[in-house]
Amino acid sequence: MSIEAPVGIVLVSHSGPVATAVAALAQGLAGGGGTAPVAAAGGTPDGGLGTSSELIAAAAASVDRGAGVAILVDLGSAVLTVKAMLAEGDELPPEARLVDAPFVEGAVAALVTASAGGDLDAVEAAASEAYQYRKQ
């Protein structure tokens, strides 16, 4: 729970630019450039639309500080690929978790919470809570 070992955030999108932009947005809104590590895993390695388990595994490894990794996903194959990787058991850090949250709003909530020193449960709760905010 200490700030020295923040939860890592991974953003998995079908699109590289979407994942990168949402990571930048979350960092901007988390303030101070963001204390917790966040990594984008969008699109395929060759820049196409889709999901790459290799990019996801690399992103998760890059943000893992030992306090857990919260993975947020957008659509279809992003959801299924992360679930399949978690089921495999050895492709993601031991404390990696798929967080059920809206992609953009959840990413901001997750990064703000992780940067404030929240643990994995707190990060997950904050990201999922973003579903409760109705826009109309």
């Binding site: 196409g48 639309l49 889709g50 999901t51 790459s52 194959s77 299924l80 690929t81 089921a87 495999e88």
Partner: protein, 213 residues
């Protein structure tokens, strides 16, 4: 009994079928999906074929888990984790036996298909690959026909019929579900590729000659 060579033949035959019908799969996917099913599976099964050549598996289970891992890491679309889970779970269910019986394969495939249903949250009738896989597993698990032939051709027929039966269905899963009623009248690409997978299984069994229970 079915040995490792049988499973390599099955996967190789699937890869060949995907190459042959990639355009058809993409065409079906362009009607109700995002028009990449053929090319995605082509990329995945090419990687599977390459891996089978580079690191020949020692057991039937290892052949299927290797293929499953490669599909998840290379396909890029939802069919990657779905087919990857199907083959990997089936492979894990076979354990490390050097040879398996057709009945053991049928049971392991049932486990794999159940894992696919759980992963995708789909059920038969949702216009997905399950509409081909479930009847195929049923046919494979049934008692072999009394005329002495094996259950594999019956499974291939059941899968093909299941794929065809998706035409009048409305999609409830994946990209096609956004089309609502407009998804009706198109054959599901995933069920179609699943029928190819099971047809390749029958092909591998046929090449094996007499497959005894």
């Amino acid at each position: 009994m079915l040995d490792t060579a049988f499973f390599v033949r099955w996967l190789t035959a699937t890869a060949a079928a995907v190459e042959r019908d990639a355009d058809l799969l993409t065409e079906l996917d362009s009607a109700i999906g995002d028009a990449d099913h053929g090319s995605n599976l082509q990329r995945g099964f090419r990687a599977v074929t390459a891996s089978l050549g580079e690191e020949p598996p020692a057991t039937p289970g290892a052949a299927l888990t290797l293929a499953g891992r490669r599909l998840i890491s290379t396909v890029g679309g939802a069919s990657g984790p779905l087919y990857g889970t199907l083959l990997r779970r089936t492979g894990k269910a076979l354990g490390d036996a050097a040879e398996v019986s057709p009945a053991q394969l049928a049971e392991a495939l049932r486990t794999g298909v159940a894992a696919v249903a759980q992963l995708g949250g789909a059920k038969a009738g949702d216009k997905t690959m399950l509409d081909a896989l479930e009847p195929a597993v049923e046919a494979l698990g049934s008692a072999p026909p009394p005329d002495g032939s094996s259950s594999f051709p019956a499974a291939a027929r059941a899968a093909a019929e299941g794929a065809l039966a998706t035409v009048p269905l409305q999609a409830h899963k994946g990209r096609a579900s956004y089309l609502g009623e407009r998804s009706i009248g198109h054959q599901d690409p995933g069920a179609t590729s699943s029928a190819l997978l099971i047809a390749a299984l029958a092909e591998a069994a046929e090449a094996d000659g007499e497959v005894s229970e």
